[in-house]
Symmetry: C2
Subunit: 401 residues, 2 copies
Amino acid sequence: MRIKSPFLCFFILKNVNIWEEMKMKLEMQRDTLLVALQAVSKAINKTALPILQGIYVEVTNEEIIIKASDNTDTLVHLIPVDNEGVTVSSTGKTVFPKNIVDIVKRAGKTVEISSEDNGLITKVKSGKKIDFDMNCMDPLEYPELPIKDLSQPTFSVSGEQFRDLARKSVFATSESQTRPILTGVCLTVKGDCIELVATDSHRLSKLNLSVTTSNKEEMSIVIPKGTWDKGLKSFDLSKNVEFFVHELSVVMRNGQTVFNSRLLDGNFPDTSRLIPTDHKQKMTIDRKELISGLEFINGVVDDKKTASTKLHINGVASLSPSTAQSGKGNFDIFYDMFEGEDEFDINFSVRYCLEALQSIDTDTVDIHFEGPMRPFVINPVYDDISHSSKELQLILPVRAS
Amino acid sequence: MRIKSPFLCFFILKNVNIWEEMKMKLEMQRDTLLVALQAVSKAINKTALPILQGIYVEVTNEEIIIKASDNTDTLVHLIPVDNEGVTVSSTGKTVFPKNIVDIVKRAGKTVEISSEDNGLITKVKSGKKIDFDMNCMDPLEYPELPIKDLSQPTFSVSGEQFRDLARKSVFATSESQTRPILTGVCLTVKGDCIELVATDSHRLSKLNLSVTTSNKEEMSIVIPKGTWDKGLKSFDLSKNVEFFVHELSVVMRNGQTVFNSRLLDGNFPDTSRLIPTDHKQKMTIDRKELISGLEFINGVVDDKKTASTKLHINGVASLSPSTAQSGKGNFDIFYDMFEGEDEFDINFSVRYCLEALQSIDTDTVDIHFEGPMRPFVINPVYDDISHSSKELQLILPVRAS
């Protein structure tokens, strides 16, 4: 057949092109694929668009791009093709329903994936066991989620440091949407240090960590608390986490996983003046004993979320419930050291103090008081003075009822 | 002072008597008390009367009786006084609020309990740490829950057997209240054997266990499923469980814990004729492989609670989802042996079959089929023929959609 019209020729070529692009085929290790699918699936949010209920898979000759998103947070996992027993017979893309994770979990050692019908049906095969044609979604409908330039990270922390940063700050963010900015953690990069501040306006957590930054000038961003939680769930914490700070988003790279999260918009309050620099009394006390006492108070009261306790200092740290609902009495703790006038009362939230103490890792803590109606500050006491991080927990007292 | 009026004398004596009864005082090991409180607290039900929200404690010179109840189930823990470092200074009783458990948990090695004000305020002391006056409830308001005669158990099983009896039957009870009798497990004592049957009318679980019974004549009772769950939570399963069967209740004794449960009232259906005695086909298959296949189907479908699967037999056992919602295909399992005509289809509930297989402990199971619309029976295949228990799981197929 001779093609006479240049227009028809163009049409045929274009069609062939689409077909070429979509007819993907690859074979790989079950475990490699499963790790990738499980990591990105943490970004799926039931309330997002139907297409975002799926997991996007794109196969090129260089890498396999596996992606999930809720339009705010996007998780991408990249598997290089020259690695880990991946064989690409033909490139293409598709959007799997989320239960591809369960299917791959039940597969044998290797998995074969091949798409037909422009990626709308994808065959998953594994040995003589599994042969399943999955109904997939149209990859052309999947929103474009540009991958940012990831050449030079703003700074980098170890996986363990990432876990600590999250664990020591997220709990202090606000649970209410009254001031949305307070539902995130404020991260400031200055010189060779990062600072994290979280507050719900009744308590505050502040951390400083020495890092190597590529950044000259000071910059602050507010990372939503959900971002930290998703990072904890999908990252491999034996590997570093590199942060790339952009104007509207932060990208975190952890091994083959890249996590792009939108930032919270607004001005985080200046909290530096809230933190007292001086104190009237200072108590050095065993952290676990104090936790045990607060848990005793929690056992006595009915509503553990709002209960407050009275701390009475007089030769001993004596905790008692602020209300006499279930009885009267106290839990006494012998402190290690006390500076300043050794007789006063202060009332505060049991939960806030418990959460602050549980975020600290040292055996002993210093508590600085400035008076019964002034915020008090809890500091870890390190054996080793040259510790690379600094942290403090601040709690506002409550009025005695 | 000389008492002139005999009436006044009586009054004083009576008063002294009440005071004597109520002024309880004892000292004991924290752990002994905690085990008892935790065991009985499983009987507390938030919807019961206010007095039943507490834990009843009665101290006599022989034993400490610790009790909780929701009026249907009653758990009693008895601590002998001549044992485990218990010192009774004076007898009496009180009803602690439930959070006594949390308080004792935070105590030091020994706990001192002393009641004042007729048991309405009870002081809990532990070393120099805890000194707390708990508001308690009036022990005279606590309902009388007579302890039955526990001299001769009807039969006795090991803790492990108790766990197995519960695990292999409770899941097959009905979740609906349409026929309340089916929410329990029917227990029949006959000769030197007990038989347990549970069914929700779509599937049935049946177990036989050889035991030594003190019972001459056959008797059947229906034990609510909640009783099994509470038993599992509060019993020490390294110890035996003795059953005392009464007309309206069953009492189970496990070490120092005595559990009295009301029985379900009504006629449990006669299920003996439902169980086929013959079969057309018999398949011997690896239990874990079959579970893996059913979990694959569960991964593919959307509603895991109601999903059904088609089992197609033809040289291989091939599972596929009954609906093509998420795709088409199958999970193939090579069976060990097949007797009878080797080509047919049967449809059944994925969940029912999974739960039945998960209740079985052997590596291999026999499945007996009688036709696509007749119930099929799953039996464990024991290496050891002289096994002391017998069990079967019966499942009704569903119509292909």
